[in-house]
């Protein structure tokens, strides 16, 4: 029991680099809702290292049960339909990591996130990454790589976008981008800022910290 506890402690501080970026944006002790929390890796980190009051929603039963078994308050639910139940401003942060592209109505999901949370943190794979561009331009094939491992016919990802698309959507929705970071294929993080062209080309994924204007 104690050994297992130590092992999990050791594992806890080594989370995926994109999750670490999100975690770094979260103020300690805040109220956090992680939408699409998977097996609870990020939530567990936030609860233990940032002392947040964290909750999670996850679509897969196996993910939910893994989370609850680990003592995390997680419910089975869907980003598209179940965010409506939460009252406005119930959370300091609503997180959506690598899930936006799998939602039915991404715009409404973002809308809802900024209704129930004072801030939203969104991460997604960038479809304008040079490898995607090369794949489409030269091979004429939909991209399949480490961050987008599924074939077009069995991918859960139904709404792809690029970093530039996302920035334009935020603009249209009157959302303020507080921070934006792109991650290249080596896991190196860069602020997006004014270097949009470069970020959109080199970023394999992106993380945005948002609030309502």
């Amino acid at each position: 029991m104690n050994m297992a506890r130590k092992e999990s402690e050791a594992r806890r501080d080594a989370i995926r680099v994109d999750l670490q970026l999100i975690a770094d944006m979260v103020e300690p002790g805040s109220r956090v809702l992680d939408v699409g929390c998977g097996d609870g890796e990020l939530l567990d980190y936030l609860v233990h290292f940032k002392q947040v009051d964290g909750r999670g929603i996850e679509l897969s039963t196996s993910g939910v049960n893994a989370c609850v078994s680990a003592g995390l308050p997680v419910i089975q639910g869907d980003a598209d339909t179940d965010l409506d139940d939460y009252p406005a401003a119930a959370f300091d942060y609503v997180l959506l990591s690598q899930t936006l592209q799998a939602t039915m109505a991404p715009k409404q999901v973002i809308e809802n996130m900024l209704r129930i949370g004072k801030r939203a943190i969104v991460s997604f794979p960038n479809f304008a990454h040079w490898r995607c561009r090369v794949g489409l331009a030269l091979q004429g094939r939909m991209p399949v790589n480490e961050s987008l491992p599924d074939q077009w016919y069995d991918t859960p990802n139904i709404h792809f976008c690029t970093i530039k698309d996302f920035v334009l959507l935020c603009d249209e929705m009157n959302i303020t981008i507080e921070r934006s970071i792109s991650l290249d294929s080596t896991g190196r993080a860069r602020g997006i800022g004014s270097g949009m062209f470069f970020a959109n080309l080199m970023g394999e994924q992106a993380v945005f910290l948002l609030h309502r204007s």
Partner: protein
């Protein structure tokens, strides 16, 4: 104590068993939802484990319709293991080396707590139908009086399945500052038309039995065993799933090679249900069955809150773990989800897991590893928050 003959229903007299009881409502009566008051009434209860010095490790287990206070250990009447023996005990999920587990027989029950079978102090005879009609909230208020009497300020956890889960929800609503964590399992925030329909069928079976004697069977020395057995048979079907009935019995015949062209129990499933019915009669009171099923039917937690369930949870800081089972058609997952939605709307801390199983509603009583894993994980997490871990 030996188990009574399982088919001795006719004229069966339960052996006199002395339950551990406490008198409640001595100074202040229990005011019931129906307007009546109960004074100086007995409540039967069992405890397991030791209350710690800080009184922070108490768990209240709320039993279901046919359950009682004998959660673990051998049942003094049937000689069989307690109804949640698999979950409660040293080293088990509700670890009695760590927690102080309390379970009381519900108000209206027939294992020592005030109910139609018990003696009305004013007449000296059994209450029978003169016992006031009770609600789930009344049961919970009586449990709170028990905690007062035991000098336990609040509960680390209140947990229960089926009607026990309804009590859990009522606890969170009535005593938000006395509940640290709450685990409503396989239940609903209101009794559906289907639930009421099944309960009514059971009640009709009881009251149609000539030996029910308008509820006065105790005085007249008879037992409406046929009616109660049928009520139990119908209810028992609702606790199982089509899949579990199929895998347990299929169309297998009972002690015969071919059907007998008659109305004996040809099929194993018939024999099984008859057995369930007759053993139930040995340990349960027919009038109690009427009162408790009525309390369940009246249950609609949102009613007091203008129909808005979330309002019921507005005051609570409890951590909830709502659990449902895929093949439970009596309290289907949708009803648990309804509770979860309300808890979310109240911004409460909530976990919700649906457990895949063939065992139907009864799954909460059975060996369900995934359910246990979730339950253990939730309690460990709550432990960590409460600071019970050494």
């Amino acid at each position: 104590m030996t188990a009574p003959d399982e088919h001795s229903a006719a004229g069966f007299e339960a052996p006199e068993i002395s339950h551990r009881t406490i008198q409640l409502g001595v100074d202040e009566p229990l005011r019931l939802d129906c307007g009546a008051e109960l004074r100086d009434f007995p409540m039967a209860f069992e405890t397991y484990g030791t209350l710690n010095e800080a009184k922070s490790n108490a768990i209240l287990v709320c039993h279901a319709l046919s359950g009682d206070q004998y959660v673990a250990g051998d049942h003094p009447m049937t000689g069989r293991p307690g109804w949640w023996e698999v979950v409660v005990g040293p080293g088990k999920i509700l670890d009695t080396d760590k927690y102080f587990v309390i379970c009381s027989n519900i108000l209206g029950g027939c294992m020592g707590t005030a109910g139609p079978k018990e003696t009305n102090p004013e007449t000296g005879g059994p209450w029978g139908l003169s016992f006031p009609v009770i609600t789930i909230a009344d049961m919970v208020r009586a449990q709170a009086m028990l905690l007062d009497a035991l000098d336990i300020p609040d509960l680390f956890c209140v947990i229960g399945g089926s009607m026990g889960g309804m009590q859990v929800l009522e606890w969170a609503a009535l005593y938000p500052d006395r509940v640290f964590s709450a685990v409503p399992i396989a239940c609903s925030a209101l009794h559906s038309a289907q639930n009421i329909a099944f309960n009514e069928t059971g009640r009709q079976a009881i009251t149609a039995d000539p030996d029910w004697r308008s509820g006065n069977y105790q005085r007249q020395g008879v037992v409406p065993h046929r009616g109660l057995a049928i009520a139990r048979m119908v209810a028992h079907v609702t606790y199982m799933s089509e899949a579990s009935l199929h895998s347990k019995f299929g169309r297998k015949l009972q002690d015969r090679e071919s059907v007998a062209y008659g109305f004996d129990a040809d099929f194993q499933v018939e024999s099984y249900l008859r057995h369930q019915g007759s053993t139930f009669v040995d340990r349960f009171d027919a009038n109690s069955y009427l009162y408790i099923t009525r309390a369940m039917d009246y249950f609609d937690l949102a009613e007091r809150y203008d129909g808005i369930l979330a309002q019921a949870f507005q005051e609570t800081n409890a951590r909830f773990c709502v659990i449902s089972f895929t093949t439970d058609w009596l309290y289907p997952t949708a009803e648990s989800r309804h509770i979860v939605k309300a808890l979310n709307a109240a911004a409460a801390s909530v976990s919700f897991a649906e457990i895949e199983t063939d065992n139907g509603h009864d799954a909460f009583l059975l060996d369900e590893p995934e359910f246990w894993r979730v339950l253990r994980g939730f309690l460990d997490g709550a432990d960590e928050q409460r600071g019970l871990l050494g």
